[in-house]
Amino acid sequence: MAVMESAASSPPTIRRDPERRLIAGVCAGLARYFGIDPLWARIAFVVAAAAGGFGVLVYLLCWLLMPADAGVVPRRLPWSGRRASIEVGAGAGLLLLALLLGLRATGIWFSDAIVWPLVLVGAGAALLWRQSMSDAPADTQAPAPDTRDPTPARISRAGLGVALVIAAGLVFLQATGSLSAARDVVLAVLVVAVGLSVIFAPLIARLIRSLSAERAERIRSQERAEMAAHLHDSVLQTLALMQKRADDPREVAALARRQERELRSWLSGRGLEQPDGRRLASALDAAADEIEREHGVPIDVVAVGDAPLNEAGEAAVAAAREAMLNASKFGGGSPVDVYAEGDERHIQIFVRDRGPGFDPVSIPDDRRGVRESIIGRMERNGGRAAIRSAEGGGTEVELTLESEDR
């Protein structure tokens, strides 16, 4: 795919490698540049960090100076996730504190006036950078839309970072005894800062604009790459398979239908993982797809509305699956129609074939599927199953599930 190739063939500058990152991909990028295992680079940084915090500083500098690979999708931080990242952060902080105290006790120490402010600055900077990194579409691949809103958690994180940096400055000044002198300086600095910001405001604004343009471009190229990857994985593969199986029309038709279903659900976004578990329409689609693949009988699913599936809902889908299976086996190869209606309170599923039909009163004992897996299963879960069939008129299975607490 074009996007990937152009990234790989660009001249070999040192770039961060967000695809294999643990934090920002600095070590991975350096290791790739020097052709070594990223583990060695990481060990080197940890050792350097232990030697008075030097490594941490260098790491932050590298993070700042090294550009990330263009056009690649950063992998999720291996240790991220809300709960986990808090725990990891707290653990890392405590470890660092222990290390520093240990060093202080053994005398490998610059001075309190330098190390503690540095630690605070480091922590604050880390928070702020983490914040601005996740502003890029990078960290969160899946639920993109909400990450750019200023949620309270994000604001408080940024605020904490700023507070830490300021605290570091105060601690430093206090420790060097120049806090009172600093007060006079602050005014002067403030005046200069205001002046500078007025002078540089246009420049900064332009910089921000170009950054956001770059970000938009990155999102676009990411979407292109995703689309290309999908077409490659699914459509091209299927087309290749169909050419190979050209002598078996049944198999070709089955392949084509499967691909069609997959593409449809991808286009409609139904194939996406839903946060709240399986839903009626996509679960029925999946069941139909599976049975169609096994038996080669086309199954058309039409769903009106949708509903999340609880235990009883799953049972209804399982019963519908069984009904589709029967329709495929005994329906004489005629297409099977599945129609489902669902909302929060009720689910109704119809499975219909146009086969020879049978007398539902005299279900043979060997047709356990009907008695056990359809009727029994529905009744155990507080639902109903009705089977309508007539000689020569096809068969329809109706599954109904109604509940107060859904």
């Binding site: 839309p145 069609e260 449809r264 286009l267 409609s268 976004g269 058309d300 039409v302 769903a303 009106v304 509305g305 949708d306 999340p308 297409p335 129609d337 129609y339 209606e341 119809f350 219909r352 146009r354 329809e396």
Partner: protein, 219 residues
């Protein structure tokens, strides 16, 4: 009734020749066209009874063809064909004036049958279209702006029942039998639904896609 004269409009050469081969001998094919402009010329020149119309084409698709031609050829009927099943597109072409919608996977025999029914003045609903319509008319109707158009914004229980049966894969004749009404009555119900679909001001119909999107994001 004489055999309907039909025109095929689709921008895919492969599909046009496929449909031609399947319908050969079943109906009279007066010509085919590969785009909006050529379709306009073809239909104005040959005045077919039924136009098989692809929903998706460059330069506006099936909707644009109907928009240009329908006022000049009021007797020509349109049957929409599509692979996409995208509710928004399908509803749009129906609202523009198509008398029915079928998917491209339909067999030649079924397609010829659908063409004859459209020619005879019926509406042709595929199970999927019936599903879309039920979805669109689900929920409470919007507050009617005046008394006489309120009935356009919701389906009667009977119409709902008929649509559900179509979605379940029943033919008109079977539906008539099951509901104990005449096939003519079933057709009348479907035609009424089609009219509601075309005239209703429900915003589900005009703003289908956006609405769907919001619902999906909320749930």
């Amino acid at each position: 009734m004489s055999e309907p004269r039909i025109a095929i409009v689709d921008d895919h050469q492969l599909f046009r020749s496929g449909v031609r081969a399947e319908l050969e001998g079943l109906v009279e094919i007066v010509g085919d066209a590969d785009g909006v402009d050529s379709a306009e010329r073809l239909i104005l020149d040959s005045s077919p009874d039924v136009v098989l119309l692809d929903v998706h084409m460059p330069d506006g698709g099936g909707v644009e063809v109907i928009r240009r031609v329908a006022p000049k050829r009021p007797d020509t009927r349109f049957l929409a064909l599509s692979v996409s099943d995208d509710a928004e597109d399908v509803i749009a072409v129906i609202r523009a004036g198509a008398r029915g919608y079928v998917t491209k996977t339909i067999s030649g025999q079924e397609l010829a049958d659908a063409v004859r029914r459209v020619h005879g003045g019926d509406a042709v609903f595929s199970p999927r279209l019936a599903g879309f319509v039920l979805d669109a008319f689900a929920g409470a109707p919007p507050a009617p702006s005046s008394a006489d158009d309120s009935d356009l914004d919701q389906l009667t229980p009977r119409e709902r029942e008929v649509l559900q049966h179509i979605a379940r894969g029943y033919m008109y004749k079977e539906i008539a039998h099951r509901l104990d009404i005449s096939p003519k009555t079933v057709e009348a119900h479907v035609s009424t639904v089609l009219r509601k679909l075309q005239l209703s001001s429900r915003h589900e119909l005009s703003r289908w896609a956006a609405e769907r999107h919001l619902l999906d994001a909320d749930s």
